[in-house]
């Protein structure tokens, strides 16, 4: 299966989904003109990927989100729901939600998501502070 690599734009994140390493990452800001359209290929890739996993495979997902607009937040919940369903079916899934403690909205968003997810492991991970 091909990897999915999408470079960041000003209003959309970097996406690096590595099928072989089973390592998925989304980093950056997300407020594209049409979130549903932007994430369509991402969902298509994820569904194929999850459908082809060996039983009891493990997947690591790193989300380092700096900003989600409201429609991207909804899309992100759908993305996490798909992973949660796979976890319920036996895939071992760890989602690391990286947050800057100075950006409270990102931490709160991660806390909100964690309440909605049941089968996957959802970890809130503080990003190291840049020295200024």
């Amino acid at each position: 299966m091909e990897n999915l690599m999408i470079e960041a734009s000003r209003s959309s994140p970097t996406i690096r989904f590595d099928a072989e390493k089973r390592l998925l990452s989304i980093r950056g800001e997300s407020y594209p003109e049409n979130a549903a359209a932007f994430y369509t290929p991402v969902f298509a890739w994820l569904k194929t990927f999850l459908g082809h996993l060996e039983p009891a495979a493990s997947v690591r997902v790193d989300l380092e989100i700096l900003y989600l607009n409201s429609s991207s937040t909804k899309v992100m919940l759908n993305f996490l729901d798909l992973l949660d369903q796979a976890a319920q079916a036996g895939t071992r899934i760890v989602v690391n939600w990286h947050y800057d403690p100075e950006n409270e909205a990102v931490l709160e968003c991660g806390q909100d998501f964690s309440e909605e997810l049941h089968a996957l492991t959802f970890a809130l991970v503080e990003t190291p502070q840049e020295s200024t």
Partner: protein, 181 residues
Amino acid sequence: MNHLDLVRLQEELSAQGILMSFSGPFSHSIIEELGVAVKHYLESAQVARSALMDVFAIYIEQAQNVRNYIGRWEQDPEQARLSRSGIVVVAREGERYVVSSGNLVDRADIPPLVAHLERVRALDKAGLKVLYWQQMRQPLNDRGGAGLGLIEMARKATVPLEYALSAVDEQYAFFSLRVVI
């Protein structure tokens, strides 16, 4: 427009505490550019990261709401007035930041908009969170909208959302929204 008009316009903007404003046909790239400008301005003013991101988020939600609404009529030359009617403003009032926006609305769209705003205005932070998660579980509409924008803004705002409707003619009114952070 002569130079004196520009001076007066700048004085007016400055008197109202306006840091940034855009009025005219919105494009996604204009929204992005102004968003970067808003962030840079707040960074240079040494606004704390969380407050900066709240102002940015509320700016993006309002600008995208305006664009999504007036963008429906972009291809219709008869409705050019509506598609050019958007404005978004970031201002400072004392210690607070205020993001406002406005656009013409078709009168037929007013009752559901007002009903939604009044429902949001009536809720406290806990109630807003419940409504937010109810809406989160609804699908995106065909324009990619989530129906979450006003609820999200109300969750971040320090006072209830304020709005006004002014009569324009038989078909349109001008809707304006004011969010204090």
